[in-house]
């Protein structure tokens, strides 16, 4: 009989929450994983992804003759807890606490709780004297959170989007099946959308306010407004395209950012203004196809607004995940 020890599980999860591991700074949490792996007598592989960041891979070797299973979980948290709007929210601090049957703390749901479950599952099996034929791998990885380096946002804290797992799979971290404990609300999810991020640049003239009279049509910010209206016309065609739906869900497009001008120098109009789109792509569509399709859309904008010198740049192509077998989610 395999039985999970509630208190031990809560203790493991709390210890993980209590080690801050914002994207770019996951090494201390990986060290804690090594300690936990050693407590289970697992074989430990340390993968230094870059300075301050590591994957910890623990392997419980099987007796042989069975398939291998990997439990994979990311250590990085979506927030640091230092964000001004989260600073006073206790559940967004790296300090776990229990209240009314619930465990609170930064990263508990995404996804340190699951990582603790992996450790406790192996412990429970070992406690019950279970011996498996195949290997069980626990991969605790850095850099999963959806973010990327862009513009002035450079550095490890912006290197997410499977940065750790890409390193993992090229360094021995593979298995015949993987279970990922992302917060799915208890549902089995066999596939999910990927993401393509697109920057659309609209050019204009750099003009001092004193000389801007009658030249509003040269202002890249105002031009971007027109382009944005055109993008909003395009979005339903992407979302409504049956080729972009997956398991009955539409491929959503979000206008995620706009950047242009100098707040500290509002006396000048900027040379260019950028619109940023997050275009969700079904796992059934190759990223190269999605890239071509969105850049065709940008070409259409360039033709529609010939004076704006509209250009597009695709800077994230993170494909969706899809298991080869299985028919339901």
């Amino acid at each position: 009989m395999v039985s999970v020890d509630r208190d031990r599980l809560v203790d493991t999860a709390s210890r993980l929450v209590n080690v801050p591991s914002f994207t770019g700074d996951e090494e201390n949490a990986a060290r804690l994983m090594v300690e936990l792996f050693e407590g289970l007598n697992l074989q430990v592989q340390w993968q230094q992804v870059e300075e301050g960041r590591a994957n910890a891979l623990g392997t419980w070797a099987g007796a042989g003759g069975g398939k291998s299973l990997m439990f994979n979980g990311h250590l990085d948290t979506s927030y640091s807890g230092r964000e001004p709007w989260l600073r006073n929210v206790p559940g967004f601090q790296p300090q776990a606490f229990e209240r009314d049957g619930r465990l609170y703390g930064l990263g508990i749901s995404n996804m340190k709780g699951a990582v603790a479950c992996y450790v406790e599952a192996v412990r429970a099996l070992q406690d019950a004297g279970v011996r498996l034929r195949g290997d069980v791998l626990i991969a605790a990885v850095c850099g999963e959170i959806e973010k990327t380096q862009q513009g002035k946002a450079q550095g490890a804290e912006y290197r997410g989007y499977a940065a750790g797992t890409r390193d993992l799979v090229t360094h021995g971290g593979v298995a015949e099946m993987c279970l990922l404990g992302e917060p799915t609300e208890g549902k089995v999810v066999l596939g999910h959308f990927g993401a393509l991020w697109l920057r659309i640049r609209v050019h204009g003239d750099f003009i001092h306010t004193a000389f801007s009279e009658g030249r509003r049509d040269r202002n890249s910010i105002l031009r971007a407004g027109e382009v944005l209206d055109a993008v909003l016309e395009w979005i339903p065609t992407w979302e409504g395209d049956p080729a972009n739906s997956y398991r009955g869900a539409k491929a959503i497009v979000n206008v995620g950012a706009i950047e242009g001008g100098f707040g500290w120098r509002a006396s000048r109009t900027p040379h260019h203004t950028d619109l940023f789109l997050d275009v969700r792509v079904p796992p059934t569509k190759e990223m190269a196809v999605a890239r071509r399709e969105v850049l065709d859309m940008v070409r259409g904008l360039a033709e529609r607004f010939p004076d704006f010198a509209v250009e597009g740049e695709v800077f994230v192509t993170a494909p969706g995940g899809r298991s080869r077998r299985g028919t339901s989610s």
Binding site: V4, G91, A116, L132, V136, V169, L179, G181, P183, H192
Partner: protein, 59 residues
Amino acid sequence: MTRWFSDASALTRYGVPTVNYGTSTGLMDVELGENLEIDALVKTAEVYARVAMEVCGRA
């Protein structure tokens, strides 16, 4: 809901069949932040142990 992203992206492209299964209980608490129901966490760990036995086989 399958619109979010996960490391299944990199794993499945590398030929590792990947399933996402985890616990959570809807939206985060506005005042208290990230949290999980502990009973659900325990059940999840039990499911993971059973999956390991199923996939790896008992010796």
